[in-house]
Symmetry: C2
């Protein structure tokens, strides 16, 4: 797989520190130009300060913390639900105005002739909406592009993507998704909800916002990676829950994507956040729809009720199993090449905006052409479920059935495909629609707009599923809506390759557990078939960013590798009492790519490694330097200024770069005593440990640094996430990847 | 909490090795009388043999293993489903005959007078059924008593309860549960399904049965604790799935109870097993019921369809939140004292059988009295959903409504309470029923019969929930069936205190996700309220066995404890090349309570500890001794017989005791080279590591032994499960428990 270096990364600006490197030039230069890889540390640094604080805390204190965690989860759920509600209403309103205007116009010109004016109106409206969204994303916050799911997957995995959980990102994301859905793109508003939930969680749990430069001085205890990760899991779950009305699916999503951790209380809190989120959305949307007591909108997308009375003919679903995997893989392959093309040639913000507008205009044109050339007229039903029935060239009392698919928000189209009575759609119409929408959706995913891929996938699958159902109904009795459901599941599964969580999400969205078994089978087949060709869409995009993403297990055939081969060596060690000058030099040295430094009893002048006695993080050293926690001589400890855990928390998570800290020449001669601040009991492994064993320890505990020692406990190397992530199984067995230092 | 020592343990026979210790005499004697604590090792011993095998294996080989795992999971699901189906049909048939006979008899004597004969018939029939079940359990396999859920929780946690996953246990369990349900006890057949599924999994995955003394020579690769545990998780999930028609709930149950592990592929396999299980049950039961295509019996208990059309008045459920926790706690407290009473006074098998028969007779008598004195006649419905309508003293065309609750299997009674139309039950009837059934159920749980507590809990809750609904319906319109559902959830939650998994199980059994939110809230409240008084029923029974059960986290206030305080010390170490005589002595020494021995570079004669170079297990040493892997002198390695991994697998899991291995005096002088067999890279921690940190490592990786080393990597102690499990949070902060060495 091509290794696309950093020019157009998710954060869209190359790198926070501003250097730009030419594209695809190999990453050797990149590796040593950049400073430090940003990863998250899910292992607490149990230094003296931390232990003292914990030991001071009473049992009651821990209980209060626990209550605070529950309150935060409730807040996360509530705010996520509110945001979902806001997005839904905004999209409804804007899309409503748009379709109303276009419909009026079409009706006016159907008789007069000159429908090309309607087309232009439609295309211009679409492009205008999309333009606003794309400008916001491309110029203000590029990380808000796409669904955000790959980024959240990375975050939960332990990779820090810059600016991914900031308030600004949230604002742009919400604005962007409203624009792109209202702009008629082949996108959904569900994926971005997951990102939104995560941002809400990160913000609420930290009790402050850097974007607003506001610190509420609450929840300070939770200002570290471990706690933040837990809350972000809850936020992501709340997002899924609001998007699909699937609280259990949300929990499972967080666990499936995130967790090397599983803790009963945590899971229960995540579930609480999910439940509150869907309930909030449901409550406010029901009020908005004027039926406050009914609570009939648990999610942004609602599949509608499927009956379970009829016999589910499991066998007849069988032919639907394979197209999902194949079409999903095709989607992913095309999107992969398209993404590479975009990275190479469309990396200027203005080009990105123009591409997005072009896609919007093309979408409108294709839709218009489809409707125009379709002569599939259907009688207007009694119940008139169509929001905007277009008569066009149909007889009075009839409407153009292609228009239900194209002249509508994608969510409504999905529901129509699921629930419209047999005979609503003409097979040819559906075939053409599938084809057209497939390519539109492929083209759309990866544009510089906020948008999700769930709904377009469901729509494509529902279309060909229903097509199959219609064809089948020529032979046996079949309700095409059910086949649409299974087809939708197959297509979505073939694209994203989620497993348990997706089954549960779809079952919850369907509201009927009877469909669990066929949905599970179809998702399983889609995954197996799809994985044969290419991996899932999110994994592709993660891989294109070359981030050190850790999978569940080490590659199976990696037992012959040991820590000695895997580790980075030699590793920069510090003394327990170290000269300030050396620390500054070490931190300033751009070739020191690590974020943690083993502390040794004494580094001898010769090459003999020292005995490990702790581990200190770059961020901790920065804080120490900033507060000038120096002593004059190695022996005197008294003059050392007492630093508190609070000082570290205040600096979290954006520690200043070393360049911003001024250390005078005199100060360089002082000493720093690291004893209190280092983690005195870092995890270590012997050199002979096999890679799977190292991997298991690293992944299960969410480590960032694992010190490799020899028989006498002397430091010989350091294993980081990057060292582990580069091994993966390719076609010819174990391969080594080149990873950027993100 | 009283520490009930080993006289009447789950295995019912004191101990496998036959010694009996007086009851409640403190466990000091027990500790040193017994040999070795049996725990499971979820960390692979990565010795040279293992690594060589893994390195020899191709990528294709690993893929084949994976396929085999899937096949096994499919088999587990299929067999579990079949067993559930068999139990269901057997219970239906037997209970059918019984109720038919009694009904005929009652009808005969209602007019003649002399209903006491009917009562006697009923009581005798019940007692007879229960007698068979109780005899089988008490005399043949005591571990088959109860629901088996605490035992499976322990197994998944890493505690080995003897004989818990044997075929014999399964046979007795199935036979026992059929007898006790058919015998009319206040029990369900759902809990035992979880145990049954686990046994099936353990058997199938190992490809052999010790009970049958049959080795199929398949799946040999899976003969170790790690793999076995994974399959047992799948089996437990399949059991839940078959019991409640709740495949997702099953997966969550396994994860909630078992897992410090979470692996996407594993979870997906577990889900597969669950799905196959419910589908198998559904398929065969549907055929049995004569409606092969309908697939309407996904689980042993089926709550029936709840409609979601009406407004769920969430607020009106609020008063139901508290009784669940309070009544659940009351149930647990009474049962706790009853269990202690039983352990002290009813520990002879014949006494146990008699108690069970007594309970059966009393249950019949109470039921009869309730029916007899109730004058709550209801008209026979058109649809006649009652299986055995008893007319008794009612007018023609009417039936006695108390009889629907008592003259029926508990599953049917639950369904009646959920779904019978408003007005079916008289409030007084329900009140009396709740009271009577509550005490019957408390008395029944813990009898020496196979039986679950889920259904009685649901029934009690449904009764008072419906009662509340009826009372409420005097004020506002209310469907009492819905309140029955919420009450059932509250009561069950108050007793077992499961959280996420129980919510999902109930939602899946209801078939309607709309009830998710109120069920979650009520379970949450029940847990919070109940935990205030006493812990959950399963935890109580686990605690009474004093097994070293590890909770999710270390107690919050335990940061001041370090590995040095927690570890066992001094610890017996072995040399890399050790004298056979010393090994035999170490293993024979009853004061050596550990199952693993650190291997050190050299044990000096003075007290200085050696540098760690590996860890070898007792079981490995036994196999080595049995195969006489000796060398004449320390220097010659050539004569050493080559042992294969297969030899260890063949001996797994029941390694012979050291006493059965004869070592001659000459052989005692030989040496054993442990290098190839020991795990060369055991996990270690420094002495200063805090307890929560040790705990996290231990729990996350499922360890059995964790070596504590000093700065120079010299062994200073060993942390085992028992060392960690004894700390727990009591009323006055951290407490230390006394744990038996199980």
């Amino acid at each position: 797989m091509a290794n696309i270096a950093k020019k157009v990364s998710w954060s869209g600006r190359g790198d926070d520190r501003g250097e730009r490197t030419p594209l695809l030039n190999g990453d050797e230069e990149v590796k040593y130009n950049r400073q430090v890889p940003d990863t998250l540390d899910y292992d607490n640094s149990e230094n003296q300060l931390f232990l003292e604080e914990e030991r001071r805390m009473s049992h009651m204190g821990f209980r209060c913390l626990e209550i605070r965690r529950w309150v935060i989860c409730g807040l996360i759920g509530f705010l996520t639900g509110l945001i979902a509600c806001m997005i839904d209403i905004a999209v409804e309103k804007l899309a409503g105005y748009k379709y109303f205007a276009v419909k009026l116009n079409i009706e006016k010109y159907t008789e007069l002739g000159g429908l090309s004016i309607s087309l232009i109106l439609w295309a211009v409206l679409n492009s205008a909406f999309v333009m606003f969204g794309a400008i916001a994303v491309a110029f203000v916050e590029p990380i808000a592009a796409g669904s955000g799911i790959p980024q959240i997957k990375c975050f939960l995995n332990g990779v820090k993507i810059p600016r991914v959980v900031r308030l600004k990102t949230l604002v742009i994301k919400v604005f962007g998704v409203i624009c792109s859905v209202a702009g008629g793109l082949a996108v959904g508003k569900e994926g971005p909800m997951i990102h939104s939930g995560a941002v809400v969680a990160a913000g609420v749990s930290q009790g402050r916002s850097t974007s607003l430069k506001k610190d509420f001085k609450i929840f300070e205890y939770f200002r570290r990676d471990t706690e933040k990760r837990d809350f972000v899991s809850a936020g992501a779950a709340a997002g899924v829950s609001a998007a699909f009305g699937a609280p259990v699916g949300g929990v499972l999503f967080s666990l499936e994507e995130g967790a090397s951790f599983w803790n009963q209380m945590l899971t229960w809190r995540i579930f609480f956040a999910s439940m509150v989120s869907t309930f909030t959305l449901n409550f406010f949307l029901s009020i908005y729809h004027g039926k406050p007591g009914e609570l009939s909108s648990p999610g942004l997308i609602n599949f509608g009720r499927f009956d379970s009375d009829v016999t589910l003919n499991y066998l007849s679903f069988f032919p639907l199993h394979f197209p999902g995997g194949v079409l999903g893989a095709l989607f992913n392959i095309i999107n992969y090449w398209l993404t590479i093309f975009r990275i190479r040639y469309i990396h200027r913000p203005c080009l990105q905006v123009m591409e997005a507008m072009l896609v919007a205009a093309v979408t409108a044109t294709v839709s218009f052409a489809m409707i125009y050339f379709s002569n599939d007229c259907q009688p207007l039903g009694q119940d008139n479920t169509e929001e905007y029935p277009l008569q066009l060239f149909c007889a009075d009392g009839e409407y153009n059935s292609m228009a239900t698919a194209f002249f509508n928000t994608p969510e409504r189209s999905v529901r129509s495909l699921f629930h419209n009575p047999p005979g609503t759609y003409n097979p040819v119409t559906l075939g053409v629609f599938t084809l057209a929408y497939f390519f539109l959706a492929v083209w759309t995913y990866g544009l510089t707009v906020s948008a999700g891929v769930f709904i377009p996938s469901l729509l494509i699958g529902a279309a060909w599923g229903r097509l199959f159902g219609i064809l089948l109904s020529f032979i046996i009795w079949a309700d095409p809506g059910k086949y649409a459901l299974i087809g939708a599941a197959a297509q979505l599964g073939g694209i994203v390759r989620m497993t348990l969580s997706l089954t549960v999400i779809l079952v919850e969205a369907t509201g009927n557990v009877t469909y669990g078994f066929p949905i599970m089978l179809v998702l399983m087949t889609a995954k197996i078939v799809g994985d044969y060709f290419i991996e899932g869409l999110y994994d592709i995009h993660i891989k294109l960013q070359s981030v050190p993403f850790l999978h569940w297990d080490a590659p199976p055939t990696s037992h012959w590798l040991t820590a000695r081969e895997v580790m980075s060596s030699p590793v920069t060690c510090l003394n327990r009492v170290e000269k300030v000058g050396r620390i500054v030099d070490v931190l300033s040295n751009t070739s020191t790519i690590h974020n943690g430094f083993p502390v040794v009893a004494h580094t001898s002048e010769n090459d003999e490694p020292g005995i490990i006695c702790g581990l200190i993080l770059r961020s901790q050293l920065i804080v120490l330097l900033k507060h000038k926690v120096f002593v004059e001589r190695a022996s005197s400890r008294l003059s050392q200024r007492k630093l508190q855990l609070k000082d570290f928390r205040d600096a979290y998570p954006r520690f200043p770069p070393i360049q911003s800290i001024h250390v005078s020449q005199d100060e360089r001669e002082c000493m720093m005593d690291l004893t209190e601040f280092m983690n005195p009991t870092p995890y270590t492994v012997p050199q002979e440990t096999s890679l799977p064993r190292v991997f298991k320890l690293f992944r299960a505990l969410g480590l960032r640094h694992l010190v490799v020692v020899d028989n006498e406990n002397r430091v010989v190397g350091l294993v980081t996430r990057k060292d582990l992530a580069r091994y993966h199984v390719g076609k010819d067995g174990l391969e080594e990847l080149h990873l950027a230092q993100t």
